[in-house]
């Protein structure tokens, strides 16, 4: 991933400054492919939105955050079982206040289309 032109320019610059290459150290960030040991799979629509706005409370596994906040999408009390997408979309859009935890309104940051995508992603991932 490291562009050749930067390699050459960097070598020339370091040589000109007389500081030499730092004994085998990298001069460029590691590539994602090397980091992950293979190419990353294509992301499903809605996944990026889930990771940005939902994962903090609902968790990477959809089970909520330590059982204290964020509804568990996988259990018997999952809102995915109790509510249709149209109802859930309103909650995501306008927010929801509960006794022990709340969900912020996402209308400032997500369009209706993005909310629909993320709901589809959540159903596909966690409604088993």
């Amino acid at each position: 991933m490291r562009p050749l032109r930067w390699t050459i320019a960097g070598s020339l610059l370091l040589g000109a400054l007389g500081c030499g290459q730092d004994r085998g150290a990298d001069s460029w960030p590691i590539s994602r492919a090397e980091l992950e040991g293979g190419a990353a799979p294509g992301a499903a629509p809605g996944e990026a939105t889930y990771r940005q706005y939902c994962i903090g409370c609902h968790g990477a596994d959809g089970r909520g955050n330590g059982g204290t906040t964020g509804a568990d999408f996988t259990g018997p009390a999952s809102p995915l079982r109790a509510h249709a997408d149209a109802e859930l979309a309103v909650s995501v859009r306008d927010g929801k206040r509960g006794a022990s935890a709340s969900m912020p309104a996402h209308s400032p940051v997500l369009s209706d289309a993005q909310i629909a995508q993320v709901l589809a992603y959540v159903r596909a991932q966690f409604a088993r």
């Binding site: 562009p3 730092d22 004994r23 960030p29 040991g37 994962i55 903090g56």
Partner: protein, 514 residues
Amino acid sequence: MAVFIGSDLQADQELTCDVCVVGSGAGGAHVAQRLATQNKRVIVLEEGGFHASEKFDMTERNMVPRLYQEAGGRGTADRSIQVVQGRAVGGTTVINWTTCFRTPERVMEVWREHHGVEGLTYASLVPHWEIVEKRLNVVKMTLEQVNKNNMVTWNGAKKLGWHADLLHRNVKHCAHTGYCGVGCPIDAKQSMLVTMIPEAVRAGADVYANAWVERIERDGRKCTKVIAKLRVPETDQPSGVTLTVKAKIVVLAGGGINTPALLLRSKVDANGRTGMRTFLHPAIGAVGMHQERIDPFVGSPQYVHSDQFVDRGADKIGMLIEGAPIFPMSFGSFVPSFGDEKQALMELMPNLSLTGVMLHDGFDHPDRNEGGHVTLTPAGKPRLDYRWTSRLEEGFKAAVDAAMRIQLAGGAKQVASPHPRYARNEQQIADVVATAPFGACQVPVFSAHVMGGCAMGTNERWSVVDSRTLRHHGFDNLFVIDGSVFPTSLTVNPQLSIYGLASWASEFVLQAVA
């Protein structure tokens, strides 16, 4: 009994009250609450806007300009250190990361021994901290709550055999959304915006947002008027309306930088110490590139800290290690790389983890002018010059070394200094620290803690405020109750120190009103 915004006043007004509080953050909100609940007529003047949590849209793009001083662009005059401070009703508590420490006893001992601080002791603050900690729900995090990002710092420190512990935070029903720095969207953070300010208003206080205090006027040892220029909430431009407050007692609580600047604008600086010894906890760190996704923007900003290098001997600057989050806008703007390298770094962001380190400035004993110096620009705005010393530079090297080693030990495949310079093993880390430049403007440094500038003490030649009451040496009815009174940095995140201090000092304000 209300919160007014700049557009609510269409013509100049003059108001009277018992206590006028300038600033509504950690110090000002506590004083306002305490005095208002004792049936005193309180007016709070706040430069920033009034933003309820419904307006917090969880984006840096919109929230940083609204909630931060100088739209997030505050810094030292030479731009070597970026300074983040809040600017809103609730002050910096609206945007801080909720970490709570009591003032360390060893720091207060330095104040007593080297800065002439009498009256204010650790023991005198304990009962106030106990009240505040209960009211603001200060709780210690559990290891199960720690997010992946902070877990790297925890694991790295443990693997190196270094000290590591969990942090206390002032949160209630926290959903660990990670948006502390751009305003908690669910009011879980027990900031002044949702605690002391509402209590003060319910008890009868009036809060004026968008009210920038230009100056105070005096007659001998008496502060006679507070002059505020109102601003239009939507544009943050002057509205042309002047609000004048006549108060029996005036409390300055604008924080480091703003409070000394207000005193200087008011031409109150009898001994030339106003604005001197401003401290920043200059902060630096290192990122690690990890095989698994870390999502360093998910979860609360900070859960863990390490005291491993708090004391490195008197000739070296101490430092506190803490977990720290990575957000797209701040990461994108902070790391000085361009083009393809910037893109490569940003693409790695989900796999990055950050360890932060803040330096303990203010303890170089022979140096009376250590740290920063607040003066005024020709336009009357604050200017902060900060001395970049060899002691500081050595500290940055040690801090980056420690942070890189923690990330490596915590499982990173590659680690990067803030320059950025890259390493994959201990030898390469040593090479980076030895060869990378650490001079002013050669490495990005930021500060989230501004302290000092109106140092307290009992020696009127070397201090600005009397440490026995927090009354200004030059006035009978002017108090300074905020982070500007600390004679050194605190060595820990400041909010709880300011809460305790304000609770303690409120008693003296109350006595003065009576």
